[in-house]
Symmetry: C2
Subunit: 235 residues, 2 copies
């Protein structure tokens, strides 16, 4: 029996796995017939964001990203392009998806499982906050980029509109918690940063470690709650 390359997760893990379940939480009391937004929970597999300049180095002069699959937030997409991410000691992830559109800084978002594989000690950071983070080497079909920084584990967060924020009684920059009920694996994720603006849709982003830990694919109930939603009494 010959064996395929071990653990080529890029093939078997989708770019995004998602679940939408009846939203229950700190919203309007039962009986209220008002605004009740659907809650999308998305698991982001490892991916990267690139600058225009890095797209051209990796994929050739004049290259642009090719939108292949739209993401849930309007205007964002998984590109057809993939890169190899190489860490120290010649460890690598052969296929890491590029998400578009391009950004002012290139950034690689990994789950801890990925970063342990690569031998990179990725810190937990909110997207865009990459100062002082580890770098890596990106290899494309036409060239190589050495990132001095930009490898992170993206901190869990929730996108929402200002109307959603009002509904939940939170504001941009607050923290919430997400409770996933699933067989033998019910989990509450605290520290969920609220990213509220005029146009975003209600969507929680967690990574593959988090999605696997809570068995999101088997989830039966999802609750988005205020971080301080627990009672203050002592048990």
């Amino acid at each position: 029996m010959s064996a395929a390359p071990p653990l080529d997760r890029a093939i078997v893990e989708q770019i995004v796995r998602q679940i939408v379940l009846a939203q229950v939480g700190n919203g309007k009391p039962a009986g209220d017939q008002g605004y009740r937004p659907n809650l999308m929970v998305s698991i982001s597999a490892r991916h990267c964001h690139l600058t225009d300049e890095h797209v051209e180095i990796l994929f050739g002069p004049g290259a642009k990203l090719t939108p292949e699959k739209p993401l849930y937030q309007d205007g964002f997409y998984a590109a057809a392009e993939q890169v190899m991410v190489v860490g120290p000691r010649r460890r690598m992830l052969p296929t890491v998806r590029v998400l578009g559109p391009t950004r002012p800084h290139s950034q690689v978002e990994l789950a801890f499982t990925d970063s342990i594989s690569l031998g990179i000690d990725a810190p937990v950071r909110h997207s865009g906050n990459i100062r002082g983070t580890p770098g890596c080497v990106l290899v494309g079909p036409k060239g190589v980029v050495e990132l001095q920084e930009g490898v992170i584990r993206a901190a869990r967060h929730v996108h929402m509109s200002l109307k959603d924020a009002e509904h939940f009684g939170v504001k941009n920059g607050d923290h919430m918690k997400l409770r996933i009920e699933s067989p033998y694996s019910t989990t509450v994720f605290e520290d969920l940063l609220v990213r509220a603006d005029a146009t975003s849709k209600l969507e929680v982003h967690i990574d593959t470690d988090e999605g696997n830990a809570c068995y999101l694919d088997g989830g039966t109930k999802v609750e988005l709650l205020k971080q301080d939603g627990g009672c203050k009494c002592k048990h």
Copy 2:
């Protein structure tokens, strides 16, 4: 630049990663100078348990497991022996550690990340409850075993002594929850099965997905709480 085999996590992930932090929870009230057990939280990387018969098939007639590293619970150990686990479609995990002592049934415990890699849809089960679960092929240096069943994601659980159980006000078979406080990654694991007996030490077992999701390595506080420790009022 030549590349090492991708994602050979067996090399970079320890068999067990552990943390002991000041135990806080539903125990005696502050000021009580009584029994306060230390809480060990252990991340089990993928591993397998074998029968005596399967040890001999995989490692040769007369072979016994070789204890290499004692585990936290007395009498249990990581063996020197490893097997290759092969799933459908020629996917495989090249090095899966065998834990001893041997058992009445062979069983492979994977995180979901591993099972996705293998292409096996491993159900969440408590150890020993393997009826109707998927099988796999185990390859050792001297032979091959085809398991008809036994591939699971081990459900999170907590071992403890009867004295610990009394301390927490729980009994064997109850459920508790574990809260890990860590930078941007604070997580509560519910559905933690209590396995209480006369001699076990207080130890929570979670898998690598769970340990990575809650950033256990960066944990600053651990709480073991009764499942119904939350208040009953509506927020």
